[in-house]
Point group: C2
Chain length 403, copies 2
């Protein structure tokens, strides 16, 4: 009896403590739909969610691999708090009696292989991707025909502010790839590529260049003979790229959910269709010295595979949360050392705390630098394999490009 | 007993008949997320929805003002059919035990004052907005500063395919507005403006012009003194425009959900900020002869109000599902007859079947034409106050513009 009472008293104390600890300075998330108050975030990065579901038995808020039970009030409104989240952008979803749905309060993003909810937790450095009164470039939605895929494809292309006013200027190009389970919307929307570049250029911290954000995992099936090529504007439903028929195989293991042919299938489309389209339609400087490739996670592995296979096409490399280039790899890849004048490697700090296989990407990159290559290493503080790591990586990488 | 049996037999017959009547030629909707099979649509435009909700008591598919009860199978998967829907695009939602959520299977669109599910029912004339292997223009996402709102704003701008290759050419501009409860994404996404124009231009049916799609219902609150202007990239959360301080009041009644100040607040932003920004940044022909305004529903009423107040700014008018211009209005508006060389009025046939107040917009427009103005009237067959009406209206209107 005494023991039970003690436990109850302890539980009550813990509960009271927990309640007292939540700072009541919640504000609506910047990723909420217009006029929606929830989810909110407080200064300790706790998320408070709220969903109306009067007849539901249980409602959960599912973020960062944890399902938080919400509690129902007398009006059928379910509310609850999460543990503190990392700064930056996270995908999440709601569960209503076993149905996984988007939160009706949030904006929607493509990632984790679905369009669904996302939330941006305010970050101490969020100023670098804020919407400011500076000259803004355009993020263009572009359709084009691919011979490799015999289909129409869809990408986003950033052109800097000066592009539309200085018609004599030509620009270098960065090809920038999303990760597994994502698509061309990743960098254009939650990646905030246009805003990051506008702010960097306005501050005099980066050169002006074009950025091409394409879909690295999709190519359309061949249409029937005589049929017009078709595409799905927002979410192409075609088959994955075919397995490689030869050429460079990816180095190292791939992340979860990576489709077969992820590097070679996209390499052919990139080199034979995308780059020629971009060089024909836009005022690029169409040579390898003015062409870079970077990507995150699966996109980093595609970048490594493609740039190692195509030193005649690219001269700068960015690998965000998706591998390194070792001295041995640089030495054993024909033309690599001569071709590349910039290798940038980055990770979130939570990724490097528990490196797979005990490999230290910082040491590998330092060794590459010591061997004579222009190698840079960046670790995003207190972020994981998520978009805040990649926003910061682009911010760092862009300052090194085409200078 | 006999009667009960008869009724049962009849009910069984009706049930069997109903089942037999549903054509089993369902295909995934074009508006589904990548890889998602449901919702499907058959050749009779019946929608078959499916949602996984193992612990739910009831699940409903809510489209066209009707909630269809789905039926649960042994795996907790709920399925059901709707009545036949009209051709074209419709907003819809799912109800799970009283929670209104987006369908996790669909893509998401802004309308009905929320981001949520939409479905495109195949249309007999859908070829005019298909993705084809023709030269494509770009739909650009643009941020700009508004003095009127003292804030950053966000719009979409279509530039035709030739814009980026023929750098000496200048273009007329159409300012194209969404309806109530919608925003600048309406014409750019579900409106399929870029695809409609690309196909028209490739077929030689329309002149090339720029199209500006802005947000007609939103302006940001003034920030505190010294604070940097900020904007919400995807779903601005600012206050509605202020009530008009004078100037032209809207003619006629407004649609449901129309905010106060919807015409005058936006007119100031349009004339003082948006048009100067567009004429400065893009290669426009910056005179009234080469400037048109059109809109749907609330956007049509804004168009009427703004063009009647500003004959020195515009020369062509398109009103889609949002009013007419009568002979009396044309005669009593100073400068109107001299300024405008095109007035286009359109509706969906289901709107004109039961015209409000017994007014016949076709007769009003025919009278305007008989009075000497270049007036055109179009009725979209078998569509209501929805996007297929407006896609078709743009398709018709664009063929008359700047010729």
């Amino acid at each position: 009896m005494k023991r039970t009472l003690m436990i109850s008293a302890m539980a009550l104390a813990a509960c009271t403590l927990a309640t007292a600890q939540v700072k009541e300075d919640f504000k609506p998330a910047s990723t909420n739909q217009q006029g929606k108050q929830y989810p909110m975030v407080n200064s300790e990065r706790v998320v408070r969610a709220q969903v109306t579901a009067p007849d539901a038995k249980y409602v959960q808020f599912d973020i960062g691999g944890v399902k938080y039970d919400l509690v129902k009030d007398e009006n059928g409104v379910w509310t609850g708090d999460t543990a503190p989240q990392d700064e930056g952008f996270h995908y999440y979803q709601i569960w209503v009696d076993g149905a996984a749905t988007p939160d009706p309060n949030s904006l929607y993003y493509y990632g984790a292989s679905r369009w669904g909810s996302g939330i941006d937790i305010p970050a101490h450095d969020e100023d670098f991707y804020a919407v400011k009164n500076v000259p803004h470039g355009d993020v263009r939605e572009v359709y084009y025909y691919s011979k490799t895929n015999d289909a129409m494809r869809h990408c986003f292309i950033y052109t800097p502010a000066s592009y539309d006013t200085d018609l004599t200027k030509r620009y270098p190009v960065l090809y920038l790839q999303h990760g597994g389970g994502e698509n061309e919307y990743g960098w254009a929307v939650q990646g905030k590529t246009g805003l990051i570049m506008d702010n960097l250029i306005a501050a005099g911290l980066a050169e002006e260049f074009i950025i091409v954000m394409d879909n690295g995992t999709w190519s359309m099936p061949r249409p029937a003979a005589g049929a017009a090529p078709q595409a799905r504007p927002q979410a192409p439903q075609g088959q994955r790229p075919q397995a490689p028929q030869g050429g460079q195989r990816p180095q190292g293991g791939g992340p979860m959910g990576m489709p077969s042919g992820w590097a070679d299938g996209f390499m052919n489309t990139l080199v034979n269709d995308i780059i020629p389209m971009v060089d024909a339609k836009y005022r690029t400087i169409a040579d390898r010295e003015h062409r870079a490739m970077a990507g995150l996670s699966m996109g980093a592995m595609q970048t490594k595979s493609i740039t190692m296979a195509k030193p005649e096409v690219f001269s700068k490399i960015g690998l965000f949360s998706g591998g390194t280039i070792s001295v041995d790899e640089a030495n054993s890849t024909p033309g690599f050392r001569e071709a590349y004048d910039l290798v940038f490697v980055s990770f979130g700090s939570r990724e490097t705390e528990n490196p797979r296989g005990g490999v230290d990407p910082g040491k590998i990159t330092a060794d590459l630098k010591a061997s004579g290559m222009n190698a840079h290493y960046y670790v995003s503080p207190e972020t994981a394999h998520e978009w805040q790591t990649w926003r910061r990586s682009l911010y760092q990488f862009a300052q090194l490009l085409f200078k």
